[in-house]
Subunit: 341 residues, 2 copies
């Protein structure tokens, strides 16, 4: 399998990205190939001699760099030789089976959609993020690829994220919830209400109905379907609450009894490890014609290593074939066509 | 001042509501009057003899009860003699200066809007919730009154929540942020982008630009303007993350060293107290022609007591007069009219 990695993506690029790629080599097969994409004069000198590596690590030159806060579409137009459009082109030309980036999310979504195109039957791709919770992993789709969601998009996110949860996370019959503002049928805006009917009409989906913000951490569902704007707020808010709360705990502990603060450290570390998004590596852009993973901007080598392994699992488990097959079912196709007309 | 309280609202009604009302009596003036609204045969026997009370506590009979999960509009139609429509009518008839309920939020919003009507100039009311954070209180508006927000609604939420933050929370020149999915100007959906221009055009607003989910807890702003659906998810998600994290900490502590868990308890208690939404009592429905506070369904006596005090502060600080005055300014009126046409 050939995996192209954006070596310049994220706050810790290129060092952590390269380190993650090299770490993953030990866990890959001999015929797997990694391609690090970025300015060759920066990347190449950081690689160890070829003989020391089990699988191939190549460099593809991409001399330009897109910053994390550049306007996505603009940056792609102005910097066609930067790592994000270059990995997208590698996928398009069949030179990469998977692409991974921790760079500018908007630029990734735009480039991957534009170059790789959608899987047959998919109206719009969505980003699926796995939230580690004490009740198990919850896959949330979408978290920001599509901020003008229609019912057909949300329904397709339900079907795709369900396939992902089942085949990558190993959850037998994933329970699917629809993010709304109340559990009752009548709650939610028009898009939510129409989506609800659509999901309910699909007997293959183990639908638990509307869910609320708090339900994500309560073991109510394995898949949470969400409009992209809302999903993005959920993602970032959760980070903010966790950081804020740990800070508050630390401040209180120091005040209460500094020694207690020391004793508490391993507990915090264990919690961080257990509920660490780095564990899942990256978030797949479900629905593009290829394997594309987008990682957190703060990714460390471990995140990248895990993203590479996740990409391999996604690819070898033929997630995209399963999505195509599902969306091609007569009943599913008819339902989608009815709401897009 | 005359305050009407829904004695049957919330999971702990009527006992905690009545207890909260009685607790507040000690802190109110002698000429203040509380009216508990609910089935008289249930409420009256729970009150102490009149002579023991500093201010007046009356009961108004409302024999029907709206459950927490009933469809709002339906329930108001079917149960006109329940506490929520009855307190709304008391306000409408000028028999109550403020109304408070911990009951069905949707029914409260519908009844208060329908009976009390909007303040002159207000297009749609919004619920403002105060989040206690380690960086100070952040007022988020709207959290669910309006799930089909237009730019004019969001702009008015910015102006109203700013007046609230300044005059009730005592924040000198509140920094206003607009909830979006990225801090850059270009980020967000169409409603957010138009709202941004509208807020920017108002030189009286100390606008800090777009904010992301994580920023609420980072001391970036004092007021967060949000579409109602998103605000509602934020509210409930935060609850879920906090509960989930404390549960995780508890589980880890018990595993690590049970004694540590005991030592940690006062720290948790202090954090809960410090970041406790009960402290702020209730969330005002900004923009209705009256003082209306909606409390959490899980409200305890302390919440209700604090909501009563918050209602008094809202009323005596003439928040509504300040809102009317602000929205009547030529520049503000023109801006609102331009986007509503």
């Amino acid at each position: 399998m050939r995996i192209a990695i954006d070596a310049m993506g994220g706050d810790n690029a290129p060092d952590e990205i390269i380190a993650g790629a090299l770490e993953s080599v030990e866990l890959l097969a001999q015929d797997d190939q990694l391609t690090l994409v970025g300015p060759e004069n920066v990347i190449a000198p950081k690689l160890p001699p070829a003989s020391s590596r089990k699988c191939n690590v190549a460099v593809v030159d991409a001399p330009e760099v897109i910053a994390m806060d550049e306007p996505p579409i603009d940056s792609l137009r102005k910097k066609p030789k930067s790592s994000i459009p270059v990995i997208a082109k590698l996928a398009k030309r069949g030179l990469a089976d998977a692409v991974i980036s921790a760079g500018n999310t908007g630029a990734c979504v735009a480039a991957f959609q534009m170059r790789m195109r959608n899987l047959p039957g998919v109206v719009r791709p969505g980003i699926a993020v796995v939230f580690p919770t004490s009740e198990g992993p919850v896959t949330i789709c979408d978290v920001g690829a599509n901020i003008a969601c229609k019912p057909v998009n949300l329904y397709q996110y339900a079907t795709m994220a369900r396939i992902y949860s089942k085949n990558v996370l190993g959850i037998h019959n994933p329970r699917v919830g629809l993010m709304s503002i109340g559990q009752e049928d009548a709650k939610g805006n028009e898009v939510v209400k129409k989506t609800r009917e659509l999901i309910k009409s699909d007997p293959n989906i183990n639908f638990v109905g509307n869910i609320e913000g708090r339900d994500i951490f309560r073991g109510v569902c394995d898949v949470a379907v969400s409009e992209g704007f809302v999903g993005n707020v959920i993602l970032k808010l959760t980070e903010g609450v966790v950081d804020g709360l740990f800070k508050a705990i630390k401040d209180e502990l120091v005040q209460e009894k500094p020694q207690l603060s020391e004793e508490f450290k391993p507990v915090i570390r264990r919690i961080y490890r257990k509920y660490d998004y780095n564990e899942y590596g990256g978030a797949p852009l479900l629905g593009v014609n290829g394997t594309a993973l987008i990682c957190h901007g703060a990714s460390r080598s471990r995140t990248i290593r895990n993203a590479i392994l996740a990409a391999k699992k996604y690819y070898t488990n033929k997630i995209n074939d399963k999505i195509i097959e599902y969306l091609a079912k007569t009943s599913v196709r008819t339902a989608c066509e009815q709401v897009t007309q």
